[in-house]
């Protein structure tokens, strides 16, 4: 027979037990770090978006899927759509929402204050908006010029015509920095070489990149390089005409193993790892993370297959150039 007192005790025990299990469930969920990535193209674009996605996968491999959840939204080139996705992830309680595009900055200024417990990150930029009193935005910025410089030195060493073509999307941000570094690298090695700079006006127009590559080749270029996801068209054209391609963002050699000589790989895993640690300690923003040759945020991927007999010599040249940049002996100017 259970009296009133006993039944009350039973209810209390049940409630306490249930709340214990619920707490365990919640704490297990809260232990799992959750990152959301909003990007302008796709995770397999062989360029900007893929560089961040690959970096997150590398971190997830270290931490384990049980400790790190990754969610992503692709093709958010329309900023209003990106806004919705960023807000949605923040609403769903993600610990870190990465707005992977400098075009998303104006949206973040409005979104971040609405979610003071969520950390946001955006790049490529050196602005965290802390000057506006916002304390939950991190910034990351690849020093694209460094990688461009190393590629330029290698390109100048390998070019026979001393004519090279750069194909960029829009004259700003990483594309411009990479171009400036590439030109300076070429000039350092071959002062008389020419680098012809072209802009297609689009990040995604593959045909425009291919057409421009064709024009460069017909004008005598035997080395091509460029940035953004459209460059796959240019790589295709380089492959057809058997001229060398120098990549940026990810190792682009799988695109055309005999054509892509060297790639600048942007690795965001270091900055994101640091962000995770800071967030766990309670710091949600106000810090800028440069990705450089010094901190491993930028590294070179040489393609032995495309380089053949010249691989060892080019490798040594690249390593020497990287060392001189890291030592501060070479400084890359952001002026043309």
């Amino acid at each position: 027979m259970i009296n009133k007192k006993s039944s009350f005790s039973l209810v209390v025990v049940l409630v306490i037990s249930l709340s214990f299990f619920l707490t365990v469930g919640v704490s297990a969920q809260s232990d799992k770090f959750r990152i959301a990535l909003v990007m302008p193209s796709t995770v397999n674009d062989m360029a900007w978006s893929q560089s961040m996605y690959d970096s997150l996968l590398a971190i997830q491999e270290e931490m384990g899927e049980e400790d790190l959840e990754i969610a992503y939204s692709e093709n958010k080139y329309v900023i209003s759509e990106a806004n919705t996705a960023i807000r949605d992830y923040a609403n769903r309680g993600f610990d870190l929402v990465i707005a992977h595009g400098s075009q998303y900055g104006a949206e973040l200024v409005n979104i971040a204050p609405d979610f003071p417990g969520t950390s946001f990150a955006w790049g490529s930029t050196a602005r965290t908006f802390s000057d506006q009193g916002i304390d939950n935005i991190f910034a990351y910025e690849p020093h694209a010029g460094q990688g461009g410089y190393v590629n330029g030195v290698i390109a100048a060493r390998l070019s026979e015509s001393d004519i090279m073509g750069f194909i960029g999307p829009i004259e700003s941000g990483d594309a411009k920095k990479y171009m400036l570094g590439f030109k300076q690298g070429v000039k350092a090695k071959s002062p008389d070489a020419k680098v012809k700079v072209t802009w297609t006006g689009s990040y995604s127009d593959v045909a425009a990149a291919a057409k421009t590559a064709k024009s460069h080749i017909q004008a005598g270029a035997d080395v091509l390089t460029g940035t953004s996801q459209m460059v796959t068209g240019a790589v295709g054209e380089a492959k057809k005409k058997d001229v060398m391609w120098f990549g940026y963002d990810v190792d682009q050699s799988p695109l055309a193993p005999n054509t892509v000589v060297s790639s600048v790989v942007v690795d965001f895993s270091g900055p994101v790892r640091q962000m995770i640690d800071l967030i766990k300690e309670g710091t949600l923003g106000e810090k800028i993370f440069p990705a450089t040759l010094e901190n491993g945020g930028i590294r070179m991927a040489l393609n032995e297959k495309a380089l053949g007999d010249e691989y060892e010599e080019v490798k040594s040249l690249a390593e020497d150039t990287v060392e001189r940049i890291v030592d501060g002996e070479i400084e890359i100017s952001l002026e043309d």
């Binding site: 093709n75 291919a210 004008a219 695109l255």
Partner: protein
């Protein structure tokens, strides 16, 4: 130097005119029967995807082309079903087809291929006696799909203007009720033109992914399908004028790249808008002239039975 520039722009103009030619000629045939298909872009993407996928799986370019034809037929029939049988608003259904093609091609590419890569597409043909001629040889060194696109132009003109079925198409696009009273099955004609348009749009996409660019990725066409539709208006629904429009647009596009490569000092923002400025000028000039347009364009046909 001048010779190199002419050869470069000429070669680029012919090569990049090919996808526009396939798509715009198919669209011209459809519009002459009264069907507007704004979904060309989506069908191009599906054709480009399937052809690329088949090449990666089998390395057979001809099988890839056949796959694009089948894909085009399927999408052409879907377009016809929506616009002819269901009498959908053609502008809206076309946008639907475009978004469907964009999404489906991206999805299928992701699950069947996954990573962006290049392939060996249709090689350039070396024509004995012509390929070795300076400048002209450079301009005419093209792959089989480019040659086929230019061969298609006179065939399409002959088909539309000199065959009984071509005349039926024109009648259906101009006066569908009169055509019907003379025993022409209006809806059947429109089903056929929609299917032809679908096949040609799909081949247009394939000509990009396995002929011109030899690569496929999300939204590969970047608006080329919509430009093809605009070129039909530009050409006043006449095949040879549409062909000229494709060539003009493509040539100015080639010139645009060259102006930057040559470093003539014109800001890139200006060179990038050049093709569109020229198109606007030509359209404004043409607006003064009398242009033939199919009277029943976008109007679904209803026999009024029952």
């Amino acid at each position: 130097m001048i010779g190199t520039i002419i050869a470069s722009i000429g070669n680029s103009a012919l090569q990049y005119a090919a996808p526009y030619l396939y798509a715009a000629i198919g669209e011209t045939i459809g519009q002459r029967s009264g069907l507007l298909n704004l979904g060309v872009e989506g069908i191009m993407l599906m054709g480009g995807y399937i052809a690329f996928f088949i090449v990666t799986a089998t390395e057979s370019l001809l099988l890839a082309l056949a796959g694009a034809v089948v894909m085009g037929m399927v999408f052409g029939l879907i377009t016809a079903f929506l616009n002819v049988t269901l009498k959908a608003e053609q502008g809206i259904s076309g946008i639907g087809i475009y978004i469907f093609g964009l999404g489906l091609s991206t999805f299928l590419f992701g699950i069947t291929i996954g990573d962006v890569r290049t392939i060996d597409g249709f090689p350039d043909l070396v024509i004995p006696g012509i390929s070795s001629i300076p400048i002209l040889g450079d301009i005419l060194t093209q792959n089989a799909l480019v040659y086929a696109a230019f061969l298609l132009a006179p065939l399409a003109w002959y088909f539309l203007n000199k065959t009984p079925f071509g005349l039926k198409i024109q009648a259906v696009g101009q006066r569908p009720r009169a055509a019907d009273s003379l025993g022409v099955n209006v809806n059947r004609v429109r089903y056929i033109t929609a299917t032809i348009g679908g096949i040609l749009a799909s081949i247009a996409g394939a000509s990009l992914s396995i002929g011109v660019l030899n690569v496929f990725q999300q939204n590969l066409t970047s608006g080329m399908g919509f430009i093809a539709v605009a070129l039909v208006y530009f050409g006043g629904w006449q095949v040879y004028q549409v062909v000229l429009g494709c060539l003009l647009f493509s040539a100015i596009d080639g010139l645009k790249s060259w102006l930057q490569v040559a470093g003539v000092g014109i800001p890139s923002e200006f060179t990038l808008m050049l093709p569109y400025v020229v198109i606007l000028i030509v359209l404004a000039t043409m607006a003064r002239k009398r242009v033939y347009s199919p009277d029943a364009l976008t109007e679904p046909f209803d026999r009024g039975e029952g």
